[in-house]
Amino acid sequence: MEVTEEELTVHKIILEQGPIFVDEIKIHELIEYALPDTSWEQLQIILESLHSFGLVRKRQTHDERVLYQARTKEIAKKLQNLDEKEFEIYELIENSERKGIAKSEIQKLTKIVQSIVESSLKSMQDQQLVKEVKPKNKKLYMLFDIKPADESLSRLLYNNGEVDTLVVEALKTTCYSFIYHRSFPKDMDEDAVYHPGYTGYPTLSKILQCIIESKLIAEVEVEDADIRQILDVLIYEGKIIRIFSGAIPDSDTMDIMGTSHGSQEVYVARKQRAVGNAWTPTPCGRCPYFKDECTEDGEISPSNCVFYPQWLNRDPKEREKIPWTGELPPMDTSMYPRPK
């Protein structure tokens, strides 16, 4: 049995509505232009047929209305090859949407033996119908093309529910160097800056493209949201700023079609110079006893401080070698017995 022209038209109309459930009354209204003479009963038959082909999902509301959501043809084709139990499992996973569903839950709800559930899940994963995500040591299954609901399930930045700091740091470095090299004019004075209306600063899409081209991340697809999160972190660290660039149509901002982009967010690096402070370079600025234990004439006091002589007698050449930024190394506190 083949899908008829009429059915395909209805399917196309439902698909155009996006990944949402559409009321059957609304579908009837929508098809009025494409299929003007379709009666309510005929529509019911078409929808039932589409459902049997796996081209639509069906859901009944508490007030007896029926809603439909379209599946793509590719998925429907794959679904045709599934057996009854596999299809049941697929529908369960599909209904769990962005939350995902655990294997034990599937077993409990479908009452299918473990071995069959496992083999079905495996075959569906091979066909790229469902995927496996791992938030916090718990395996969950959800549809292959769905983005997890919880941000912590982002496959790029998180691993087992914990932030993958290695990936974050690597992405941060790449993004920062990409932005930095495009933030200041070359072959000019080292202090030079671009004029205020300059539009060539990197945008999010350019940075994303750079990350993809650098092949830094091989296994997982890099998404806009991930890079945006990394850029936010760089902003919090005070290394870059986000500004709006004006829409001046020139060759750089025109795309192939010749239309210019409107005002857009761009990222600009800050100069690698920070305003220093006077406190942390002194011994008091990093003394662990400064706040509570050190008093004017107590057991620990500036008069018998061990850090000041260290600091004062330091060779001036050695002083210059000490980096002026970054986390200060902890002082050797073993000289002081911990006060009781």
Binding site: A192, Q229, E237, G238, G285, C294, E296, C305, G326
Partner: protein, 535 residues
């Protein structure tokens, strides 16, 4: 805070006036207002000795007095001003930069002399510096002195100025009220009297001690016609206007901030704008409006080459001087540190500086740098997230900062112990059980600035203590050195040598150490000025 401050104040007095005066200052700091006999009794000093100490402190504008009538007797009470003592820390900065700020070569020496004496008369100063009235130096000194009066760098003081501001205000208020009624004044009458006094006080601000009425409008114009016209009473006492110098130091810091943030050219431009605005008081929120034309006129053309080198303009466009500087101004306006603001588009644009917002950005930068150096980039990240997003729980902080939960927790505890972040508890149930309570972390920058200021004061007190310790350790050497210098001066012979080679080396080492401590102190003082004096 108060204990640390008192400790620091005592150290400053000891450093400048010695341990005996320190004791008098200490008792006044601890106990508040006291009469002369009570001070002498508490310290077991003679009345003469106590009076001499108080005299020194009054001469240096540190102690104020007030007479209060108690039945037949008139008691004179002495009180000490903590802020005046703390202001002494800035003296080094004032002397070093005086020549630049007053735009007079001799200003440094004059300021030093005024600060050494607390308050001076011109005649007394000339006599002490041994300047002949016929010499050309006398003319130069007089010119510099009148310039300082004109620019309000020094102001006249008289006998009543040694009364504390609060006492003077109370007395004036009572006098004002006595004019209105003989009976108990109503609330309305009191408010009217206060308003009248406040208005008078504002007018008094223009008093400079000069005989010629000061014309504010002519101050920045070429003063050719006024040259030599300015006369002042040579026996009038003058003291330094700290506020004016503080404002100058603030502007120096602003220019450095812009230089570091954008580039040298932008720093130079903001310096000229600040000079044009010529703010007098640290309490001023905004500068006056300055037209583009005035900015262009005041920036020397010699800088044009540097400006052109440090700005990449649009391709294929030759840029005039005006549009180049305008681009720099746009750069300053667009910067998120609130450096420059635009008021209007007329006359090529009217610009002004919001001192308040600018200071806030500067404070924020210094504060974030402290956090960065003390708690690392992760600490800074957490703080910035909390500052932007307000109250957040641990999970949300983890999501925003992309840090592991353990790292976040550890850094939050460290920041909490440092007094930089706070927790807000929101219980979900009536029993306020911790397991059913939200813990939201937040940061209040103003509270953090307070905490930092306190740390700065404590560090400064510690540095003083270390210095005294170093000096007392080498007291014998210092005495010997003093004797040697005295002998050299007495006999007019530079070859006299009392110190051995090893002693000279030890003395050099000590000097090196003291210089290091002084440098650290000076840097801290600059930051204290930022957090305390600049609003």
């Amino acid at each position: 805070m108060s204990v640390t401050l008192n400790r620091l104040c005592c150290y400053i007095i000891r450093d400048d006036f010695g341990p005996i005066v320190e004791q008098v200052a200490k008792i006044l700091l601890q106990k508040g207002r006291l009469t002369l006999p009570v001070i002498a009794k508490l310290l077991k000093f003679t009345l003469t000795k106590t009076r001499e100490c108080l005299f020194i402190l009054i001469q240096h504008n540190l102690v104020y007095w007030a007479d209060s009538r108690e039945s037949q007797r008139i008691g004179i009470y002495y009180s000490i001003e903590r802020d005046e003592i703390l202001a002494r820390l800035n003296f080094g900065i004032y002397i070093k930069n005086a020549a630049d700020w007053v735009e007079s070569r001799l200003a440094g020496d004059l300021v030093k002399h005024i600060l050494l004496n607390g308050k001076v008369t011109f005649a007394g100063m000339v006599e002490e510096l041994k300047i002949s009235k016929k010499s050309s130096k006398y003319k130069d000194v007089k010119e510099s002195f009148s310039k300082m009066i004109e620019k309000k760098n020094i102001f006249a003081v008289d006998f009543t100025d040694s009364k504390s501001a609060r006492d003077k205000a109370t007395e004036a208020e009572q006098r004002e009220l006595a004019k209105v009624t003989n009976f108990i004044p109503t609330k309305k009458q009191m408010a009217e009297a206060k308003a009248k006094l406040a208005a008078n006080l504002d007018m008094d601000d223009n008093a400079t001690g000069s005989k010629r009425k000061l014309n504010l409008e002519n101050l920045d114009r070429p003063t050719k016609q006024h040259k030599g016209e300015m006369t002042f009473d040579e026996n009038q006492y003058f003291r330094l206007n700290y506020e004016k110098f503080n404002v100058k130091e603030r502007h120096k810091r602003f220019a450095k901030f812009v230089r570091d943030r954008i580039n040298r050219s932008a720093g130079a431009i903001i310096k000229y704008i600040l000079d044009i605005a010529d703010c007098d008081k640290a309490s001023e929120i905004e500068s006056c409006s300055i037209s583009l034309h005035r900015i262009l006129k005041n920036i020397p053309e010699i800088k044009d080459e540097m400006f052109a080198q440090q700005m990449k303009t649009e391709k294929g466009k030759t840029v005039s001087r005006e549009s180049l500087i305008k681009q720099y101004l746009d750069c300053l306006i667009e910067d998120d540190a609130n450096i420059l603001c635009k008021k209007d588009e007329n006359m090529g644009g009217m610009f002004f500086i919001n001192y308040n917002a600018f200071c806030e950005s500067l404070k924020q930068q210094v504060f974030e740098n402290i956090i960065f150096e003390k708690y690392g980039i992760k600490g800074q990240r957490i703080l910035k997230v909390l500052h932007t997003k307000q109250k957040l729980d641990e999970k949300a902080i983890t999501a925003f900062t992309l840090m592991s939960v353990t790292d976040v927790r550890q850094k939050l505890v460290e920041l909490f112990n440092g007094g930089f972040v706070q927790v807000q508890e929101v219980p979900r149930s009536g029993d306020r059980a911790p397991s059913r309570t939200f813990f939201f972390w937040y940061v209040d920058y103003n509270k953090c600035y307070e905490a930092i200021l306190q740390n700065y004061y404590r560090t400064l007190a510690n540095i003083h203590q270390v210095r005294f310790e170093q000096e007392s350790g080498a007291a014998r050497l210092l005495d010997k050195k003093e004797k040697e210098d005295a002998l050299k001066q007495l006999n007019n012979n530079t070859f006299i040598q009392l110190l051995t080679e090893s002693e000279t080396k030890a003395l050099n080492d000590l000097e090196f150490i003291l210089t290091q401590l002084d440098t650290a102190q000076l840097r801290i003082v600059q930051d204290i000025m930022l957090f305390k004096n600049y609003k």
